[in-house]
Symmetry: C2
Subunit: 207 residues, 2 copies
DNA sequence: TTTCTGTTGACCATACGGGTCAATGACATC
DNA sequence: GATGTCATTGACCCGTATGGTCAACAGAAA
């Protein structure tokens, strides 16, 4: 399907992928312009369509590319033998922070895909999205030692509260970075703050 | 400025306001179409511009309208003499749920305004948005009795975790409603679940 | 009949979108 | 040098949609 594109030299592939991801992440499917993408990537318009056929197929390709990139990284760097919930979630957060630095637009793009409701896209993606979240959730919670949690409150709610906390924390970080002049992310600060939240949460939710 | 519009009969005002809010909430500033708004409102295009001058001024008007509507309701229904954090937050959530029923599009519109980054809009709104959040935050936390919270962990973090929990819970509710066939919100269910989270959070975060 | 206000919707300029394709360039084979 | 092959170009097409205007109209009041 995308063999023509895949047999390109890596550098050019990356230039195109990055340009496209950036555009889609910023504007969403409908408003993203192929003209902008080719301009940013430094190729001609015809070539883009030569590689991907049309806009929709390109979007599919990018989604696949991003999800495998991210999940591969998680599977590589997160130790799934670790049974402590907080230790495991800490690993995941560190991986996420790293990738926020190395591939700044990918997360925004993925998020955008999950919010997307352009009719052209929605139907075909809804299944995919559900599958992916399901698989990753299952994998993520696999083998966790839940016996450490206090037993006088509903465990499922505790897990949700913890997960939500770190999601919101990550949103806040992203927002702060967007507001800051240099657009840089202060990793040490984040890790410190994350660690502080870990302390609060372990103290309150563990036995 | 909007005197012509304001001197209309209330029913017509509402028809126009609701149509416009719905359109902006769904599509965001740029993609929202004045054509759609007039169609939905059942008025002619000329009339819309006769009332509001142009699209941007209409957007301003709607933002003002919505924020005052919401804050007025909060100030009316939330008892600011109540010093218990959870009791007060419970009141706020109930008001929000009620309004999610009576004015379904308003929250989506407000949310959309806060996410909006159309260059035409962004600059002029950034100040406004900050001011509003600041004022409301201050008012909301005024007079709360913090002595009930456990003292072995950072209070600010606890407050954040609680706030985030209910924000995420509300997001989840909205999402579930969007997914459900009838688009209805199951209020009893929400209130029950909210109550359960209250129990978890009080037990873990109060002394 | 005239005047006035509220209201209409066809119309304008124009921008921008995805997608195409004849033409070009680059390079290998003969 | 000629021929063939393949990647690559970008001017161009056509359809769509936009915010905004304005001459015309309706209907009530004077």
């Amino acid at each position: 399907m995308f063999s023509k594109f895949l047999s390109l030299e890596k550098e050019k592939q990356d230039r195109i992928i990055n340009a496209a991801i950036k555009e889609f992440a910023q504007k969403g499917y409908d408003k993203a312009s192929t003209n902008e993408i080719v301009k940013e990537a430094g190729i001609s318009k015809g070539l883009l369509f030569h590689y991907f056929g049309n806009k929709k197929q390109m979007y599919f390709f990018l989604f696949d590319y991003c999800t495998t990139l991210i999940t591969d990284e998680y599977y590589l760097k997160v130790n799934f033998k670790e049974t402590d919930f907080f230790t495991r979630i800490r690993q995941a957060i560190i991986v996420k922070m790293e990738m926020l630095g190395t591939h700044p637009d990918i997360f925004k793009f993925i998020q955008e895909v999950f919010l997307e409701d352009s009719p052209e896209i929605k139907v075909e993606f809804d299944k995919k999205k559900q599958e992916i979240t399901h698989i990753n959730m299952e994998k993520f919670y696999e083998g966790i030692d839940y016996s450490k949690f206090r037993e006088d409150v509903d465990l499922k709610k505790i897990i949700k509260i913890i997960t939500w906390t770190f999601e919101k924390l990550s949103d806040e970080v992203l927002n702060q970075a967007k507001m800051s002049p240099n657009h840089e992310i202060d990793y040490q600060n984040i890790l410190d703050e994350t660690e502080e939240y870990f302390q609060v949460l372990t103290r309150c939710f563990y036995k």
